[in-house]
Amino acid sequence: MSADALPGIDKLATGIPGFDAIARGGLPEGRTTLVAGTPGSAKTVFAGQFLAAGIQRDDTPGVFVTCEEAPADLRRNFGAFGWSMADWEADGRWTFVDVSPDPDEETVEAGSYDLGALVARIEHAVERSGARRLAIDSLGAMFSRFPDTRQVRRDLFRIASRLKALGVTAVMTAERETEYGPVARHGVEEFVADNVVILRNILENETRRRTLEILKFRGTQHQKGEYPFTILPEGGLIAIPLSAMELTQHSTDVRTTSGNDELDRMCGGGFYRDSIVLVSGATGTGKTLMATEFTAGGLAAGERCMLFAFEESREQLMRNARGWNVDYAPAEGAGNLAIRCDYPEAAGLEDHLVRIKQEIDRFRPDRVALDSLTALERVASPRGFREFVISLTSFIKERQIAGLFTASTPSLMGGASVTEAHISTLTDSIIVLRYVEMRGRVHRGLAVLKMRGAGHDAGIRCFNIDDRGMHIGQRFSGVEGILEGHPVHVQQGDEDT
């Protein structure tokens, strides 16, 4: 038993990707969890996936009580995620309890009533199918259909107690009016108050962002705060547990080549195999070249490489590489190299993240280059971008893959990039590329700013680029202020060489 679990309440691993890490194991077993969200926040998908994941994991039967949408609509919507609804229903692993209103039938109210029939039907469905999981979607529909809210509340409480007695783990969805307001409408949190998950669909800097937050799990632990999630057309909801993943990282001392011998020497023998290197510089300073050499160096050492390009087309990328005496075609043909070019605007950042992860897990590379982060930053909010980088770096390190990301600085001559400021603490090493103006000429300078746990050459070295790639030369001497973009000539002799 982990230190997280308190005696008394076990967790049920839902199988919803990413969710169980955030929930520290899953939903409280044998309890009801309220899943609240505004319209369009993916409550129904969450509810459906809770059952689908149970079936896919270990054939756990489930019951889906639908109060709003007709089962026929849900079969179609859920089927689109690749869930075998027809098979599951046929062999009793999925049971619908249809409580959706019939639009053609008018119901007249004549006196007092309760939802006894609903309670009976749910119990019957659970007992007949042996269901261990149940979802009710949504409570709000029950309240708008039956005006006696006190009675509805009482009956829903009865349902929650019955489910507890039957040992069923349940999810009930409820509507919210605002993203940051009361937990749910109709005071439903009063009877399923123990466990609450909030789904949000926020408009932030003109970008839609979905997040999931566990508000409370009574008597048991969970991660705090909002976590991004996305919905994949082929699999449903996938949550992105950020800090939950950071904890599991370990680091090796195995070195691997940067693709440039002199740079290897500057870094004290190459990059670390499970480290992330950020290459930052203005346009044209040689970032894409470094990504190219990093990739070519890996291929030459017999490693599998992946290159994610968000700034250039495939043709342009191949042409650039050939211009530096690197030919990608043979390695790609041999299956040792995978190149993915994509427009940043083609998807939301969460979707890019999930795709990149999937591609990496499919191809299983030894090293990954991404050019550039700045292009991706355009399609995200600052917070969303930071989460993206945290998630991607921990993912790559977990698999002991070497990563190299590039970032562009806005000004030609120096200064930190926005990207750099956001993520410099997340990467193991930072290499800056700068234009240096000296005596009426523009030179290029390179410095290793940070190298995880190792000594490195702290000098700012000049380099040039030709048709064989990057050539790193001597230190700039007698110049200060290169990194800030304001080189100032100083007296020789007072250096700490």
Binding site: D98, V99, V108, E109, G111, Y113
Partner: protein, 99 residues
């Protein structure tokens, strides 16, 4: 005007509310539909499948199976006017003059 009425009353268990609904229904039928109605009582606790097929949510639920169209009334049928209206035993005009 000798139309047969088939009325099914869905209840959950032998509760006071169930009994009240049946008594109210019988009284109304005796007055309005003498000799041309049939009442079936279905306990959803004993016959959950039938509750499922008819998609019963609230109980008591009264369903007028005949004559068509099907009509649904929920509650213990203590609101006589609403029951008459639900069973279409009063025309809208009549209904207004009653009020």
């Amino acid at each position: 005007m000798a139309q047969e009425y088939l009325l099914r009353l869905y209840v959950t268990g032998q509760t006071a509310r169930s009994a009240r609904a049946l008594a109210n229904l019988q009284a109304i039928c005796e007055e309005e539909l003498q000799g041309r109605y049939r009442i079936e009582v279905i306990d959803v606790l004993e016959n959950p499948e039938r509750g499922e097929n008819e998609r019963i949510v609230a109980t008591p639920t009264l369903i007028r199976e005949l004559p068509p169209p099907i009509r649904r009334i929920i509650g213990d049928l203590s609101d006589r006017d609403e029951v008459l209206h639900g069973l279409e035993l009063v025309s809208p005009g009549q209904r207004e003059s009653l009020q």
